[in-house]
Symmetry: C2
Subunit: 203 residues, 2 copies
DNA sequence: AACTATATCGAGACAGTCTCAACTTTCCTA
DNA sequence: TAGGAAAGTTGAGACTGTCTCGATATAGTT
């Protein structure tokens, strides 16, 4: 497990580590500018290394993108744990979903990678995804116990909802994405509950 | 308006029409086989025409894909109109959503194009999308009048939900997509309603 | 200082997108 | 039905991007 495609394993040589970090930094810049479709060739050029060096560190575009997202994902998982003590289980879940969607929105175009990383154990992001999923599961379980969400709701449902809403937000408008998230969350609720916490789906 | 990028306008020359249709047929085959990422070069080769001929008919991959989806979209709009007489407004809406999602699932990878075509008036698909949206609006309006969905729900919400669910289905599993759709539809409902028509989100 | 594992280099094979000037075909009309 | 203009086709080639690999350079060790 964790066949780190590009992670700094053991101990890298000093020059290797420097290049690794430069590449990652340039990738972050390029990503912010162009989204996920930047040219790998250009990243190498901007980082001042040869083409092959990039491929040495990151065998594929996806490996590079995954390395880029790892930290954020872990932060999200941590945030989820913090919200376990929120007074209202469902409100906590909602707050986390909002944060997660904000995250997914920044990483526009990568929702696909996020969704697939769950199933793909060879992915660099797999463990990070599992951590996020575990955090989600904690929140869902708590809300379920409190009778605030339908019993059949899983963390995977929540995860899918968040990513799908973020995707919709990218495709049309941010608001549309947020509306979708709001409706989706409403759909997770136990049917009879008359909605004590309004999430704000009203335009 | 309707600056058909590749539509058979006026009258095409016999050879042009033949090539146009061959290209479309090959594209359909390739799409079924590889999804939206097939090589345009290969389509031309398979259709027995030169590279440039393809670009003459379809200036971009997207134009080709759009031409491919037009018919289906129109069929979807028609189906929506038919469901306006369904005994239960919400059930009609649900049935249509299911059909629409099945459609979006077949055209995997094209949800993005579908979502963007609404806003992009230069898209070949724009009018088809508007027709679908109008059909959705009819169903939503009816359910709204019957008090079965929240007053703030729009056809755009429904459209976004369907496409997002289809996307989720592509990314992880078909069932996950269906679950998301079910939860989303539940979220569109008027909160107090105890759910007369169960859509089957339970695993 | 010599050695070796570890990295980097960069040319080049390959695949795809897209353009355009020369050429060919269709079809209209006289 | 011959001739010519408009419409369409062709395919080489410019370009961009991905990825590989043998030659070469360097860091860290003894």
């Amino acid at each position: 497990m964790d066949t780190g495609t590009a992670a700094p394993r053991r101990r890298m040589r000093a020059d290797a580590r420097r290049n690794y970090e430069r590449l990652l930094a340039e990738a972050a810049t390029a990503f912010a500018e162009y989204g996920a479709e930047f040219s790998l060739e250009e990243i190498a050029r901007r980082a001042g290394v040869a083409n092959g060096t990039l491929y040495g560190h990151f065998p594929s575009r996806r490996a590079l993108l995954e390395a880029l997202m790892g930290d954020r994902m872990r932060a999200l998982a941590t945030a989820g744990h913090g919200l376990l003590t929120h007074p209202s289980p469902f409100a906590g879940l909602t707050a986390w979903a909002d944060a997660a969607m904000a995250h997914a929105t920044v990483y526009r175009g990568l929702g696909s990678a996020l969704m697939q990383a769950i199933e793909d154990e060879t992915s660099e992001l797999h463990t990070a995804c599992e951590a996020v999923l575990a955090a989600g599961e904690g929140l869902v379980a708590r809300a379920r116990t409190a009778g605030e969400v339908r019993p059949e709701v899983t963390a995977a449902d929540l995860y899918a909802l968040i990513n799908a809403a973020a995707w919709a937000g990218e495709q049309s408008s941010r608001q549309q994405g947020e509306r979708l998230l709001a409706f989706g969350l409403a759909g997770l609720r136990t049917p009879s509950t008359p909605a004590p916490t309004d999430h704000g789906a009203t335009p």
